[in-house]
Symmetry: C2
Amino acid sequence: MDAAEFRKRGKEMVDYVADYLEKIEKRQVFPDVEPGYLRPLVADSAPQDPESFEDVFKDIEKIIMPGVTHWHSPYFFAYFPSASSFPALLADMLCGGIGCVGFSWAASPACTELETVMLDWLGKMVNLPKEFLAEKDGQGGGVIQGSASEATLIALLAARTKIIRQVQSEKPELTEAEIMGTLVAYASDQFCATLGTTSCCSFDKLLELGPICNKENIWMHIDAAYAGSAFICPEFRHLLNGVEFADSFNFNPHKWLLVNFDCSAMWVKKRSDLIGAFKLEPLYLQHHHQESGLVTDYRHWQIPLGRRFRSLKLWFVLRMYGVRGLQEHIRKHIRLSHQFEHLVLQDERFEICAEVVLGLVCFRLKGSNELNEALLKSINDAKKIHLVPCHLREKFVLRFAVCSRTVESTHIKFAWQHISQLATDLLKTWEHNHHQQ
Amino acid sequence: MDAAEFRKRGKEMVDYVADYLEKIEKRQVFPDVEPGYLRPLVADSAPQDPESFEDVFKDIEKIIMPGVTHWHSPYFFAYFPSASSFPALLADMLCGGIGCVGFSWAASPACTELETVMLDWLGKMVNLPKEFLAEKDGQGGGVIQGSASEATLIALLAARTKIIRQVQSEKPELTEAEIMGTLVAYASDQFCATLGTTSCCSFDKLLELGPICNKENIWMHIDAAYAGSAFICPEFRHLLNGVEFADSFNFNPHKWLLVNFDCSAMWVKKRSDLIGAFKLEPLYLQHHHQESGLVTDYRHWQIPLGRRFRSLKLWFVLRMYGVRGLQEHIRKHIRLSHQFEHLVLQDERFEICAEVVLGLVCFRLKGSNELNEALLKSINDAKKIHLVPCHLREKFVLRFAVCSRTVESTHIKFAWQHISQLATDLLKTWEHNHHQQ
């Protein structure tokens, strides 16, 4: 395929993606396929000779779409949102076209520098303490990781390296393994200090944890993967109070800030803590600016060596939505979750299981776990909407997460009427069976 | 931005990317900017109100492009290739449009199943032993990681978990930390068993290492990040002989197989070794098929939880190039590296420093390291081509890596004439200065 054909096919693909997203509501949110459905539909091995774009393109609807769970359907209420917006899609096209690998400043200065500045923009949007910003000559700064798990791992490894070096300098007779055996990582059953847990969007008390960590010389990492985006709204920023005690902080614009996956933003107060743990300096990656102290080489901030030009997505989204546009998006989702909460509360058969703070509603039928498992099964088997469950203190609970960029009040009403009707049907059978027993 | 505007802007972006790649030769391969160039060109913080697409779009040439190192220029001979092709760009657009997160089978069955099948296709293309394939009921299989570093880390962690469990079952009185202190990871100064090292593309002797690892119950991981793509050509497949002794194997289609970053292919003989190390089962990620043993949940195979639909890139590229088209691409690069090698060998001032096996030529002026450092500096300062160096046994060596998809014989000739002329200029000054001293 040459550039001329790419122009033609690229425009067809733009239309396909626009059609897909515009009409996604008409697709069944959860697929009908059974495990192993795809293998019989494709060849046993790669073709020897090229196939045409048309051949591949027609297989998208034939082979791929029947097996897709439509995360951007307004009837998708599972997990947490995965961000998607048109500006981010455009930026990703540009990122792919440039196709640079930004492991050092020299490998593409724009890739490194835009990332540093965008993480400053984003840090200011959630009003992070100044120590977390890079600015012109700060000691902190931000980096885009692939996921919150990687950010947590990086924080853990940096903390470990830092404390091992400290202990070694005090007790040089100890080996690294001996020191490691004495280290402790404190965590709840959701791991590190978390703002907006996945199960029920609960918040750890940073203002209590933080001072203890600081006093005891414990590295404090805060994971706000989902909730972090909400802190761009002044009315939710108080949830982040206490971040000033942390060494590192992370949230995922790829969850709730309309930046397509992957874009997990991580900040540290002392970039030297990361670089100290991961520094990698083979000759072929060195360049004459690195000794100047003026440049950032992001390969020292992460596990992989390679990295894409992901800050373009942030740049496009932040500018083309503006802070106000993004705040509106967050507020709409939270408004819709409260709408759903109110619908649940009006029905005496149901209970709300955790405070609704942001865009997640945890609810269940008053009754046994088995009853609620049956309700979830009937919801997901009907495939008109899609939810996943969680456990809260032994209780089986249904999670209703407001996810899609295009979800509106009518979808929430539809979802509730549907759930309510399925509950009515279920309770009839359930009571009947129960009566018979 | 709504779908209608996305249709318009998306098509403009397709044309921009096509223009960029079609005319990339005319851009200076390495940028002129100095550290810190970008910050003064952008606002201090994100705008409150939305900006138009036009405003953002015009800043691409104004702010971004002046700081881009053009990895796909046919004058780029640095590092190793980073793959780029039009079919992969189209697939990435589709991947972004679908925007699913494939951490479990249920989160998007197509995303998981296409990946498993594509890794089988790719495994067959390099003629991996059958134990590495998933097929319908194999115990092995492949997964797409973000980078070779992640694949190595995963292999290391899986190996560690496996041996710790084994030792614990034999000596239950030992703690995990005590066992860890006794574990040894064997590596050369390029780390694990490597096919095609970054410095000079050398090859470890798998047929000697493999039987020792098997006999001593050592997990053997093979990293062929760059070289692996060449094994699709029968005449280079012998370089992979010995892979039958390995537990895990990895190479990067995103380097040399025309699949845009990121797509690092990793295979294991026993998928249970990975799953055992990384299994993560909160209720919200469970689904009723997982107990059947029929499905793959890729979150157990990797560090991150989230994952994009990256196998679409493999599917598009393998089908639209065909095995023969990809073999032609590999063979062209290797032909061009030998062309450069021959040009170097015809000039008595230069020497070749390592056997040219694939697309990398390591060469230097006969003389001091300082002389060669000065030559590299004059090459990279002129910015007509771009190279990086390496150290081979204390010697400072220039690496000439054939990188761009569109590089042709004329570019190789130009590069050599340019290097040769700069060497002539340098040697005049150098001898003059040396004579004066």
